[in-house]
Amino acid sequence: MRFLIAVAALLALLPFGLPPYAMTLLTEALILGLFAMSLDLMVGYARLISFGHAAAYGFGAYASGNFLLHTSMPLPCAVLLAGLLGGLVAIGVGWVCTQATGVSFSMLTLAYAQLLYAVAFKWTPVTGASDGLAGIPRNPGPFGVTWWSTKAGFYYLTLACLLGTFVFCRELVRSPFGAVLRGIRENEAKTIALGYNTRRYKIAIVAISFGFAGLAGALYAPFAGFANTELLFWLLSGQVLIMVIVGGAGTLIGPVLGAVFFLYMQQQLSSYTDSWALFFGVIFVLFVLFMPEGIWGLILSRFGKKAA
């Protein structure tokens, strides 16, 4: 807890010392971190590998983008509502996808995401098709409250969402609910034998995970001022999975570090070469081979603790 407060305080102080460009990158890193953390709930705790997590992210982005463009809803409300909506829709998605297990589950999530991608390409009034939604504003709140429309303000809003999500998820995985999830991860048949309806738990975790991914997407739309079908594409689903694995699955904090690392490497490598993904691929392979516990696992082992 003390550690969490220290990190939160440090992150809260950063806007006072960083140039605008670094602030932009950091805000994006936190949004991606939130996105990766949401996936970790499924991958790290219930061993539900989602290959379609971008669907939730893109859904959130389009939802908040439409709220902000077509209503005068204040920014934080639009973001939260979009996340909530993403979670509700995911109950249905979870119901369908959890009919299958293992690779079939992953394929179903991928199929769902690609379906949404195809719909987004044709549903011009809502998604702007291939042109996307441009000029997404950061709507003010009542009584002229606009603090979130500045660079630093938006960063704080993102930080608050990330920390709130972290605290919620940490309590969730420590709760009896979380214990059942780990049971599913380790031995689903045994968990069923213990009398748990594991399918319900799986649907619940898919909904929660997609909801938070939706929240991240909902933040991204007003952050970039833009949303298009790229946010729903399988490439992003793959990238976020890499962030989780590189950061350390099943740790919640690890994936956030994975996202920061991914974005940083992308920025650095892409300034040298257009085929940066190739080099990142090598890094990814090295991580999987030599550091399966990820960045966070490495940090914990340096300080003498065992990765969770």
Partner: protein, 400 residues
């Protein structure tokens, strides 16, 4: 910053700090930085490359003469792959990381539409050299956006005015499925209906389409005697070469918004007979164009294509604005650009204050084989005055 030199970083830093201010100025003032996120790869890559070459050519030309306002110009080109989301990110990079307050590029209109809402926050001016979508100077207009090029509606209008004297009765239209394609065909439809002719149908192909056979069959069977094409880059080349294989041109007169050398080069003799608008062609008359073409030939060994010429013109407009404003500060440059009037390679270009559209003439060309040229070339067949092709302020359609 990967090069090695005999100096260590510290001695270099020390030397710079110790040198008198006068000396540092003599070495060159703070450069004028221009960011250029554009599609250098992907279906629009050829167009983006042309834009970049046009800008580089101008910068070389200006820097050789001692720079602009005595300051050298530096270009920060970035590849967007033609994706609007990437365009926003790369534009943000060149503005916040590299400190650019002037922007070129944004090859696709969808990229420009995504970027322009950010210009006020960045306090940056974006000078478009190729964006077609009429909304950029219409409903999506922002004060820091300027368009030096012929817009999609303007190019379409030139074609429509030409068609008023032609015999074609039934029209079909095919465009790339994004902002520019849909916008231009919308204007074309409006023009056809106004002239009392028959518009059969329009169809849109996703960006990056390689196989056009189903589209071509549709056009053949539609009973159209002319088909209006709004395409560029790889898609345009693929469509024209497949149209030739299916002998579409025997049945239907192909009309295009932009005739360019790149597609003529790609499809060869199949391009002969193609009629279309032209934003720029090296065969345009006038001394200014002749000089530009000669200088270009000397540098690159071939003649400039559409977007190289358009980029050059955009550079001229920006240069005139900067010289007038005496700097690049957006608040001074904006009013200066609003009154810029230059004689360009296409003739007179007047920047309009009300929507920041460069008012200029409209051109129609026909692709013909001419003696002295290895490949077919676009030959000027009609010119329309600027007031006939430029729409009313912030409008995309025409009243008469």
């Amino acid at each position: 910053m990967t090069g090695t030199s005999g100096f260590s970083r510290r001695t270099l830093l020390g030397a710079t700090l110790a040198s008198p201010v006068v000396l540092r100025h003599a070495l060159g003032d703070e450069p004028i930085k221009i960011g250029m996120p554009c599609a250098l790869t992907g279906p629009g890559g050829e167009v983006g490359e042309q834009m970049r070459r046009g800008a580089e050519f101008w910068i070389k030309f200006v820097n050789a003469k001692g720079g602009l306002l005595g300051r050298p110009i530096k270009l920060y080109a970035q590849d967007t792959g033609g994706d609007p989301a990437t365009a926003v990110r790369k534009a943000q990079d060149v503005v916040e990381r590299d400190g650019c307050r002037l922007l070129f590029g944004m090859t696709l209109s969808s990229e420009a539409l995504a970027v322009v809402p950010k210009l006020a926050e960045w306090n940056a001016i974006f000078m478009s050299s190729d964006n077609g979508d009429g909304r950029l100077t219409g409903e999506s207009f922002v004060p820091n956006f300027f368009r030096a090029n012929t817009s999609g509606p303007m190019g379409t209008r030139a074609v429509a005015l030409y068609l008023r004297q032609a015999d074609f009765k039934n029209f079909y239209a095919i465009g790339m499925d994004y902002a520019w394609g849909r916008n231009s065909i919308g204007v074309f439809k409006d023009e056809v209906k106004k002239s009392g002719k028959n518009f059969i149908a329009d169809v849109y192909s996703p960006i990056g389409t390689k196989d056009f056979s189903t589209y071509i069959t549709k056009i053949r069977q539609s009973g159209a005697d002319a088909c209006y094409i709004v395409m560029q880059g790889d898609d345009n080349n693929a469509f024209l070469s497949q149209a030739r294989q299916y002998r579409l041109g025997d049945k239907v007169q192909l009309l295009t918004e932009i005739v360019d050398l790149n597609s003529i080069h790609a499809v060869g003799d199949a391009a002969i007979g193609l009629i279309g608008g032209s934003r720029y062609t090296f065969t345009f008359p006038g001394e200014a164009n002749a000089q530009f073409v000669a200088a270009w030939k000397k540098e690159y060994g071939n003649v400039p294509d559409v977007f190289e010429g358009e980029q050059w013109q955009a550079c001229q407009v920006l240069q005139a604005g900067i010289e007038k404003a005496g700097g690049i500060d957006a608040d001074k440059l904006r009013p200066a650009l609003e009154t810029v009037e230059i004689d360009s390679i296409k003739g007179r270009v007047t920047m309009r204050a009300c929507d920041h559209q460069g008012v200029q003439k409209g051109f129609m060309v026909k692709v013909v084989q001419k003696e002295g040229f290895k490949e077919p070339i676009p030959d000027l067949i009609a010119t329309f005055p600027a007031d006939q092709v430029t729409p009313a302020c912030r409008q995309m359609t025409y009243d008469s």
